[in-house]
Symmetry: C2
Subunit: 339 residues, 2 copies
DNA sequence: TTGTACGCGTTATCAC
DNA sequence: GTGATAACGCGTACAA
């Protein structure tokens, strides 16, 4: 609770001197006074006000990250990547859950603007034809004009740099894997309606099926990114035979839901049907799910690094896109078509 | 990037007037000037500096939460609880991963002190006989003297209020469930060595076994809180027959590891052996794991609420303990002893 | 090498 | 109703 003035007084020096020793300034200070100041600070339990510091230096060491839901492992891995580089650089991570609501995203962005965050990372996907998108874009632009760096981790027209994985290619690759295994009638459980990510993954699936001349046996069914959605979609599939040769879910969690629905129906995986997901979250490893590994941690880390490395005030507004590579991870839920 | 002075100038009023309309002061303002100020603020894209605000009001609307690892669902659920109430109250959550290192905990606490956080929540467990504990306690005390509220989500002598679940009772209850199912030779896969949480859960197991006159058939084996640890511990169990009647893992993730080791060894669950965990994370539902549900979300939410509700400067230093209730969740990995 | 003084953006106190 | 002005705690020219 003591301030610099008190430390200075206790050490018998001027505030500026105390300031200089306490913030590692390069300004020359005699060893003696330096020691006195440090001792006084220690004795008083001095805690430098990052608030005042940020106010005068016009830039806080706060780094914001907007996720849909931190409980979703997809986002917690990203957040971990962000926080690791933030912490190493002496920054602190501000986290906000926006539950996929653009309005909430706008709101949280404003809040982080108010705290003069060094940057804000948008981890979640947006919607196609989102009526609120223009408002968000405007808020992002204002933030940028203020010197706040924005980075999006999904392809999204926010007017800020994008650091992401190629979702469409990932979906293409997992589909190709199944096709190469001899599967022809493949069902794709889609993500939540309206999301750009949903659209991209579906397109990747469709593109591959089309390239393999399997467009007629491709089947897209409504789903979602959670367990329940994957489970329900698969139940519907089971209820309307014949069963497809394989099921690809828009993400791992839905794939696990599919797996369980199949198991409950006593349908052998991968004997009777193959199942695959996308993301490669920890749960995929637990259940031996074939999937595509997305560089989530790296996306978060790289976005954070981009913000910290970019000189304050520089190049805001550039909208470069960086694509990090993904990787197919074959495990036990897929096998060569038996029949 | 525009400040209050600029808004005031643009609106042709004094800063104090602009301030009054822009921060919802109860001070009377004529409708005309109010409109002018609002218009000017809007036009200039004014963003009130939460930094300056916090500086003058001597308390920010920042809420810190220290977790071991946000990727661990145990902690992400807690973080969600914290952020939900923080956001609703206009606060923003600062998140830090401390990887179970007391030194890191101290370091991050200092950082949050510097930002004059309204409070800091310690989500992770500490160690028994931790040599660094005194330093942490001192840091917590200093933070409190500064008006920062600390709350621990585990039983831990930090000199701050504790809001938690009764880990020991939870372990007792899950053990009792297995005992009541007829199991006698029960193995307990412990958590990471040295952690208070590990100790509590083990004690709960041992207490129940002892109460059931099963002390001689109780068996504790070293493990950990992750999948790999549960897997490895179970492999060791399998390697030294006879197999126990049941396995209880210190948490759900380790239980899933145990489940997989058993499955790979073609040992039927729950036919030949029952398996249970503790926590009731989402994965437990996926695999049908019998477990004990801990009020993680509520712990985070209640801790946050406690901090926001407590009048600034008041009652810091009280060290009350609040225990939230847990609940047994029987699922498919446990069954009555067959033989 | 050390000290003085101003400004960062707000709020609050006191006049008018 | 409205307007000066003094803090809040710190960094940093500029001076000594």
């Amino acid at each position: 609770m003591s301030s610099l003035v008190e430390v200075a007084r206790a050490a018998g020096v001027a505030v500026s001197t105390a300031s200089r020793v306490l913030n590692g300034s390069s300004h020359p200070i005699s060893a003696a006074t330096r020691a006195r100041v440090i001792a006084a600070a220690e004795r008083l339990g001095y805690s430098p006000s990052a608030l005042a510091r940020a106010l005068v230096s016009r830039s806080s060491r706060l780094l914001g990250v907007l996720v849909s839901d931190i409980v979703n492992p997809y986002f917690s891995v990203i957040a971990r990547g962000v926080d690791d580089v933030a912490t190493r650089a002496g920054y602190v991570t501000m986290l906000s859950n926006v539950d996929r609501r653009t309005a909430t995203e706008i709101n949280r962005l404003q809040t982080m603007r108010n705290y003069r965050a060094a940057g804000v990372i948008f981890a979640g996907s947006g919607y196609v034809d989102d009526p609120e998108a223009p408002t968000l874009v405007k808020a992002v632009r204002q933030a940028q004009e203020q010197g706040i760096h924005a980075v999006s981790l999904t392809v999204r027209d926010l007017g800020c740099p994008v650091i992401t994985a190629d979702s469409q290619a990932a979906a293409y690759d997992i589909t190709d894997h199944l096709v190469s295994l001899g599967h022809r009638r493949i069902a794709f459980i889609e993500g939540p309606p309206g999301m750009i990510a949903t659209h991209q993954r579906r397109e990747g699936f469709l593109a591959c099926m089309s390239d393999a001349d399997l467009a007629e046996t491709a089947r897209c069914i409504p789903g979602g990114f959670d367990y329940e959605a994957g489970h329900a979609a698969t139940m519907r599939l089971i209820a309307r035979p014949p069963l497809p040769d394989a099921i690809i879910a828009a993400n791992d969690e839905a794939a696990v839901g599919a797996l369980n629905a199949l198991r409950q129906a006593r349908i052998d995986v991968p004997g009777e049907i193959s199942v695959a997901g996308i993301d490669d979250l920890r749960v995929a490893q637990f259940v031996g799910l074939t999937t595509v590994s997305l560089p989530l941690y790296e996306m978060g880390a790289m976005a954070a690094r981009h913000i910290l490395d970019t000189a304050p005030g520089a190049d805001t507004g550039d909208a470069t896109t960086t694509i990090l590579s993904h990787r197919l991870i074959p495990r036990e839920t897929t096998a060569r078509r038996s029949s």
